[in-house]
């Protein structure tokens, strides 16, 4: 859920609840005031009747009035309790009323408020019922309530729109930062470009991110330097071992067992050497230290390489099929060589005797596919450092290097498996 949705939801829900409660209270209070007002009017009328009876000693004449109706009925003395009641108001052919409700009949019942009271005239006891219409008051309440509701709705809409606009605007630096963070690449030398903001929180976030990214990059750089130095330091002892081995085999004759041991030593050292060189190479590619630009005739390059590997193809009885069209690249020969060497090397190394290698070069892509001893490989794993099949004699860095080279040259390298063929595709 987006922050703004969440915020709006909470905010608007509270607003609605508060407004409903206030609306209810408002309605009640206004009703109370108006009813109170009506009751006061009724009491005034009651007083007038009492005064009239006191003065004249008979009941006042009952007028047909628009506002109120008064009825007198004889009752048993003491039987009437003074009280206000909700009742109906019978409206007679009322001009004002008819104007307002033309579709209604002449005689209508309206809600009314009544006062039951009593008066004694001479020795007769009368119950008095004074009724006023509450329609006018209710109309008033409705108008007031309508206006209030309108204001509330307006407020509601304004609040919603302002929140939306304001929050979107306020969070702009955040989204910008998020976008930049997604683009963040630890191997890149670029810093995260930050937008200036005068909101303290975002300013702090920016600062934190700058310091974090700097720290991460420094750590990474240090790690790379360490790898590079360690690999460099290893080269000299390796050179010593190599040269001592070369010297050792010049001495007297060896037994079969000794020469087998020496052979194993040789291959161990050469494996270590290659591993070390791969590590150094990887660091260099990541540091973009190998970015020369040369014209490369890729077709010619691949053909040369196939000639170079000829004996190995023969040795492993591999059938090589090449379908090459002209392709020019302007980039580092060194890197392209390593890339081709690695990919072709894999196609040879992981092949079985009598297998096939198909190479296809077009303007847009280079496809190297080979038969292999194993089934499909896991796409994510094969490009990971030091991932290799159990029987592989490689360093486990070949495909990592290949992918890194492709990334540097803005190519993409992908793996797929189709009907017994392992397929590596380079998209230029």
């Amino acid at each position: 859920m987006k922050l703004i949705t969440r915020y709006n939801r909470v905010n608007l829900l509270t607003t609605v609840i508060v407004m409903l409660i206030t609306g209810f209270i408002y309605y009640q209070v206004i009703s109370l005031i108006l009813i109170n007002q009506l009751e006061k009017n009724l009491e005034v009328e009651e007083d007038e009747i009492f005064e009239y009876v006191d003065l004249n000693h008979h009941l006042p004449q009952v007028f047909k009035s628009n506002d109120q109706q008064i009825t007198f009925t004889e009752a048993r003395p003491g039987s009437v309790k003074r009280q206000f009641i909700n009742t109906v108001y019978r409206n007679y052919n009322n001009a004002k009323y008819a104007r307002r409700h033309p579709h209604r009949n002449d005689e209508e019942f309206e809600t009314g408020r009544g006062l039951i009271t009593s008066v004694t005239v001479g020795n007769k006891y009368y119950k008095i019922l004074i009724v006023v219409s509450t329609v006018e008051a209710e109309d008033l309440i409705q108008i007031i309530f309508g206006i209030t509701a309108g204001v509330i709705l307006l407020l509601f809409v304004t609040l919603y729109m302002t929140n939306r606009l304001l929050l979107n605007r306020l969070w702009q630096p955040f989204y910008y930062l998020l976008k930049e963070l997604r683009l963040f690449n630890i191997t890149d030398n670029k810093d995260i470009p930050l937008e200036k903001t005068n909101i303290d929180e975002f300013e702090e976030l920016n600062k934190a991110i700058i310091s974090m990214s700097t720290r991460v990059k420094d750590d990474y750089k240090e790690l790379k330097t360490f790898t590079e130095n360690a690999s460099h330091e290893l080269l000299t002892p390796l050179a010593v071992i190599n040269s001592k081995l070369d010297t050792l085999i010049q001495t007297d004759s060896f037994t079969l067992k000794q020469s087998k041991l020496l052979s194993d030593l040789y291959s161990g050292v050469s494996k270590l050497t290659r591993l070390n060189q791969s590590l150094l190479l990887l660091v260099k590619i990541e540091n973009r230290l190998l970015e020369t630009k040369e014209d490369i005739d890729l077709k010619l390059h691949i053909e040369d390489m196939l000639v170079q590997f000829e004996e190995i193809f023969l040795d492993k009885q591999l059938h090589v099929m090449a379908d090459l069209s002209e392709k020019e690249l302007i980039t580092s020969t060194y890197l392209v060589d390593i890339l081709l060497n690695n990919l072709l090397g894999n196609a040879i190394r992981h092949n079985h005797a009598g297998g096939e290698i198909k190479i296809k070069l077009t303007d847009a892509l280079l496809v190297i596919q080979n038969t292999g001893a194993t089934g499909p490989l896991k796409h994510d794993e094969i490009f990971a450092r030091f991932h290799k099949s159990t029987e592989s004699e490689g360093s486990g860095l070949g495909l990592t290097i290949s992918r890194q080279i492709c990334e540097n040259l803005n190519f993409t390298l992908n793996y797929s498996y189709q009907s017994l063929y392992h397929i590596f595709t380079v998209n230029f």
């Binding site: 190599n242 070369d246 010297t247 087998k260 050292v269 260099k284 230290l289």
Partner: protein, 224 residues
């Protein structure tokens, strides 16, 4: 030939010295910058093996010194730094070749021999060993004036053996020399065996002596 080995790592220096020392060769060594400078300024050598990182200074400075003094000594840089810039800088400053550590002594020997050959046989492109005669320019070989048809790799192999006469050359070294980085593709070196077998057969058929011998299953030796 007279060779100066400038290398601070004792083990490596001694191995190189031992490998190069034989009848007709004089090897001198220097283990630090000052010693090296003293030697290059006083004597002249057919080839100087120069390590770049030295105690007391950089091998590059020695190279600059040699260039400034129009010294014609051949220079081969042996460095742990395999960077293109270093390589180019070294070659720009007049080094003849650049070899990255670790290397096989036989490879070093082949490179040094090539440098000295270029320096000393000005205009003469013939390499003669007993009845074998190699035209370095045309890249052809003859035995007793009879031409031997060699493939590119067989030719390279012959040159490599001639540079390492009397030494046991390991299969690893041969494979690395002929195939470079592609070497790690095959763990058995059967395909080397077939190359050597072919070369040997061609030389024998042309009437040459049998010089190439297998050495205890781990390498070959070109006997003189």
């Amino acid at each position: 030939m007279k060779i100066l080995i400038i290398e601070d790592e004792k083990g490596l220096r001694e191995s190189i010295e031992e490998y190069f020392t034989e009848a007709g060769n004089i090897c001198e060594t220097a283990s630090n910058y000052d010693e090296a400078m003293a030697k290059v300024s006083m004597y002249s050598y057919d080839c100087i093996l120069l390590d770049i990182t030295l105690p007391g200074g950089s091998g590059i400075e020695i190279l600059k010194y040699l260039k400034k003094n129009n010294n014609t000594d051949g220079v081969l840089i042996i460095s742990a730094k395999n960077s293109l810039d270093d390589r180019l800088e070294g070659l720009d400053l007049g080094a003849d070749d650049y070899l990255v550590k670790p290397f096989h002594l036989s490879e070093l020997r082949a490179r040094v021999t090539a440098i000295i050959r270029r320096k000393t046989f000005n205009g003469n492109n013939q390499l003669v060993f007993n009845e074998i005669n190699i035209d370095l320019l045309a890249k052809t070989a003859r035995v007793n004036e009879q031409s031997v048809k060699l493939t590119r790799k067989e030719y390279a192999l012959l040159l490599y053996f001639l540079a390492n006469k009397g030494k046991v050359v390991s299969k690893n070294a041969i494979a690395e020399h002929l195939w470079g980085d592609g070497m790690d593709l095959a763990n058995n070196f059967d395909f080397i065996y077939s190359h050597i077998k072919n070369l040997r057969k061609k030389l024998l058929e042309a009437g040459s002596n049998d010089y190439i011998q297998a050495a205890y299953g781990m390498g070959y030796k070109f006997t003189s």
